[in-house]
């Protein structure tokens, strides 16, 4: 539906985005994952026609692009949910939606219908006459989303829409996204929360320092993680675990605060000897937890750095 090809953007000679390519498909969610400062927002701005790339192109399949003068047509087919809560706080929710609908050329009964549907989708129909200044943070976020979809765009771009949102509202937002995906919208979701990307996205683009370091489906990305699975065993006491490394299939073994953390080649075949080792040492096992590789591991493997708290 919408393709970005080799997008490049520099400020004062410093490359912020370099050769970023991605594609949005109907009924699919594309995740754009990266630490703060990785170039996600700049990429979003170029995707939405807010920023002209120094090089590269953003184009719908039918050719509509800001680069070829069809900017209005291009923008009309995109709904942006910005990272900030971009609302008129002192206008009632309905009037906010009517304004944003009017910006995209809606009017009359059509506008009223679309406003009603948007409010219904985000669960704010009963607060339509209230001002956002009286809303909770989560409700404002949902209204922010409603403003982006009121004109029924083909593509919805969510730029970190869950920042500062409580878990209940976060789940409500996820539900909204899933409804929109099921309606055939092409969604793009930028975040630095790997759990969100894992839950929502069909395909994930990982960026770092403005470059795409991975672009694949979640399952395929996880295969980028170092082989092996983690096992955590709560033994409630310290122990010298050096001899564990002599067991077959044990790749790593550490102990901290009474918890053994092991990396095994295969959970199914290599766990039994470990448990036998614990019995032989007379250790009382209190709890066992197996941990699957995640996007954090993928990012670490790809960049050598942690994803979280990385500016």
């Amino acid at each position: 539906m919408l393709s970005a090809t080799e997008l490049n953007k520099s400020y004062s000679g410093r490359a912020v985005v370099s050769d970023v390519s991605l594609r949005l498909e109907p009924g699919r969610v594309l995740g754009l994952l990266g630490p703060n400062g990785a170039g996600k927002s700049t990429t979003v701005s170029m995707l939405c026609g807010l920023l002209r790339p120094d090089r590269g192109d953003v184009v719908f399949d039918d050719g509509a692009s800001p680069m070829n003068g069809r900017t209005d047509e291009f923008k009309r087919r995109i709904g942006l949910v910005p990272q900030d809560i971009a609302l008129y706080e002192e206008l009632p929710a309905r009037q906010n939606l009517e304004l944003f609908g009017a910006l995209y050329g809606l009017n009359g009964a059509n506008l009223g219908r679309r406003v009603g549907e948007a409010l219904e989708l985000v669960g704010l129909a009963d607060r339509a006459r209230d001002k956002p200044s009286t809303f909770s943070g989560g409700m404002k976020r949902r209204l922010n989303i409603a403003c982006a979809l009121v004109h029924d765009p083909d593509v919805l771009v969510f730029d970190e829409p869950t920042v500062g949102v409580d878990p209940q509202s976060r789940n409500a937002i996820f539900d909204n996204l899933e409804v929109l995906r099921d309606r055939g919208k092409a969604l793009m979701y930028t975040t630095h929360y790997m759990e969100e990307a894992e839950r929502l996205c069909d395909r994930i683009v990982i960026v770092d320092h403005g470059r795409v370091v991975a672009n694949d489906a979640l399952g395929a990305l996880l295969r980028h993680a170092p082989s092996g699975e983690r096992l955590e065993i709560d033994i409630g006491q310290g122990v010298d675990c050096t001899s564990l490394l002599a067991l077959p299939g044990v790749l790593e073994a550490t102990e901290s605060n009474g918890v053994l953390t092991l990396k095994l080649q295969s959970l199914a075949s290599d766990m039994a000897p470990v448990l036998a080792w614990c019995n032989a040492k007379g250790l009382a096992i209190r709890h066992i937890n197996s941990v699957r590789a995640n996007l954090e591991d993928v990012f670490l493997a790809l960049t050598g750095r942690q994803l979280r708290d990385h500016a």
Partner: protein
Amino acid sequence: MSTLTSNFPAFKALVLAELRLYFSSRRTLIMNVIAPVLIGAFFGYVTNPKDQTAPHVPVAVVDLDGSTVTKAIIEAMSKDASLEITRADEAQARKLVSEGKLRAAIVFPERFGSSAATALFAPGDRPKITLIEDPSKAMEVSLVQGLMTQHIMQAVAAQAFSPTTLSADTVAGWRKGLADSGSGVSPDQQSALGGFFDSLERLRVDQQKGATATPAGSTTAATSATGTTPATAGMRQPFSLDKQSAVGTRDSQYNGYAHSFAGMSVQFILFLGIDLGVALLLARRLGLWKRLRAAPLSRATLVASRMASGTVIACVLMLAIFAAAIAIFGVRIRGSVAGFALITLTFAIMTAAFGLFIAAVGKTPEATRGLAIVVTLIMVMLGGAWVPSFIFPPWLQTASLVVPTRWAVDGFDAMTWRGLGFDAALAPSAVLLGFALLFALLALWRFRWDE
């Protein structure tokens, strides 16, 4: 007290933190120091007598007589450092005063010179001088009236007591006036004035015989008597005065609230302009601007919508303020209502453009608001909204024409209490539109469209 003592470390830390925050903001600090210094210096300058040059009151003189007396009066007034004399016909003079370009106009009637000398001592009709005044400039008009009276008395007395011009008929006229004054003059006064007339008669006869004489003493005596001469007899002011307001009768036309409301509405609507600009900066900070730009709207649409909304709000505010002035304080639009509407509209457009300019050059809402308020206050001050511009030194009166507020205030004055027509609204409106264009172009040039 004990609580404060026990919490002193916390108290001290809080105080120091506040002080560090305040003094680390150099821009705020400068504004808080510079603004009062500038405004204080301005008011001190315009109100401190040591810093003031002599008043230079512009006055028109209309000489319908053309006699040696009126020529002498006009020459003396022209040499007076306190006056700036312009010659004009009566219609021109009245127009210039009504437009506020002159403070007053003096009209000397025909035969003023010949009849004024007789009127010095004779009762009955005196030649009538018309003084066309700007009713908003009462202090200056009083100064003009006093200086005019002084110069007339000197010239008329010199004419009356000059050996070359003093005639037997003039002295006879004075004697008759004295006789006709009846009980208005005591016998002692009659005797003294009779002796004075006898002396003048002898002086006149001696002069005609070729004898030399110096009239200076007589002149001095006559002049010095002006301050105490009763109106009914004896030496008196040799003219009557017809004071006319250039904009109608004094009581019915001039309303001091008209100027006050013009000034204050200009000031507070400019504050609205600041709010509009700061709101745009806040919209940028809150991401609203980015969201608007994501919509299929041209830059022209975004800017024009801001200009239009600002203009409408400013117009509504201006009309509401003047509605209150009209309903409560009796202010009237004596001039052209269409002209008033035109100035309101152009000032509102200028205000909206000013707001856009603020948004374009400002960085943060907080710092921009402080700076913009100082700039606005200075513009308002120079525009004569707080104190009338006529008390400014002449150079400042000229210099203040470069600020739009001066044109706005003068324009509203013209349409309200001055009662001028639509044509008088054209120049202020054109200038205000010019400033609007300037602000808009600068704003478009400096505006940061991208975040």
